[in-house]
């Protein structure tokens, strides 16, 4: 009978987000082959990644500042991009380019009516770039970036709600906006970062 294989994705994630020692990988494999479940394996891997990230964050305050600032700047860029997309057709008319719109050269209606999905795609892209180009402390960088997106977007939404400048005309209600802001968008950034590590180069070189 061939030995059980641990979840490959979990091992890959562990090796590319942290630099686990041979000892830790051996202990995980031994326990898994000894009868522990796949769920147990995943929980151990997530625990190891979280602990590594927290340790790295505690070691470098400069990293925290840099990644948080990047998150804030990218949130501003995304917000401006979305605003520009939504108001692009109006802008054409205001600037005297109504002819373009009337002849079908405006933005597709689906783009203006689904700004949150465009934002989600942008955050996946940003997260991917952050995860791909992080040279050191990848677990901390990816996690911090997702946290920075969460904080920046929450602050931005709070500001817009407080200043009554939220546009509900696009068919999104407040609950949907909050869900996108505090759940979907940070998860998109996290997904992008993790994807970049999984499908990027193997820097630790210890994958089985």
């Amino acid at each position: 009978m061939s030995p059980r294989r641990p979840p490959r994705l979990a091992t890959s994630l562990l090796c590319r987000l942290t630099r686990p020692t041979e000892t830790v990988l051996g202990d995980l494999l031994e326990q898994f082959e000894g009868g522990k479940s796949r769920l147990w394996y995943w929980s151990q891997v997530i625990g190891l990644i979280a602990q590594t990230a927290v340790g790295e964050i505690q070691q470098s305050r400069a990293l925290v500042v840099r990644v948080m600032a990047s998150g804030l700047i990218l949130t501003m860029i995304t917000s401006s991009t979305i605003t520009a997309i939504i108001s692009f057709d109006r802008w054409l008319f205001v600037r005297g380019f109504g002819w373009f719109y009337r002849n079908g050269y405006g933005l597709p209606r689906s783009m203006a009516s689904h700004p949150w999905w465009i934002a989600t795609a942008l955050y996946v892209l940003f997260g991917w770039c952050v995860g791909r180009f992080a040279q050191r402390r990848q677990a901390a960088v990816v996690l911090l970036f997702a946290i920075s997106i969460f904080i920046s977007d929450s602050a931005l939404l709070s500001y817009h709600l407080a200043s009554h400048s939220v546009d509900f005309a696009n068919g999104y209600n407040l609950t949907q906006m909050v869900v996108f802001t505090v759940v979907i968008l940070p998860l998109a950034a996290l997904f992008g970062g993790v994807s970049a590590r999984i499908w990027g180069s193997n820097q630790s070189g210890v994958i089985a």
Binding site: T23, G26, D27, L28, L29, E30, Q44, L48, Q51, G55
Partner: protein, 110 residues
């Protein structure tokens, strides 16, 4: 300055190593804490604590030979040092002193 007393998790790890003896590496240490301490543990937490204990000179570690059931990876064995043993005794004394004279705990813990 080094800490004087151990955390409860560090104490559990040191006691687990002492109970296991020669064969104390990550897997049996985790198993011992789970079975005796009746709590689930993360390997990452154990290694973080073990690294800290080694930094403070309370344990030492050495590598064994690679074994096939571990995918050819070596085990890291741990031993409690004299300083570690003293820390365990000091912590026990501190706990015993705190235990004494509490009316609610007299005649059992129920």
């Amino acid at each position: 300055m080094a800490r004087q007393h151990l955390t409860d998790f560090e104490l559990m790890i040191l006691l687990a190593i002492l109970r296991i003896g020669e064969d104390a590496y990550g897997v049996p240490i985790a198993r011992e804490i789970e079975q005796t301490g009746r709590r689930s543990v993360l390997l990452g937490a154990i290694y973080t604590a073990l690294d800290r204990l080694e930094e403070n000179g309370l344990v030492t570690s050495s590598y064994g030979d690679p074994t096939p059931e571990r995918g050819g990876r070596a085990k890291r064995f741990f031993k409690v040092t004299g300083k570690g043993l003293k820390a365990v005794k000091d912590t026990q004394k501190a706990f015993t002193a705190l235990w004494r004279g509490i009316p609610q705990l007299k005649g059992g813990t129920t």
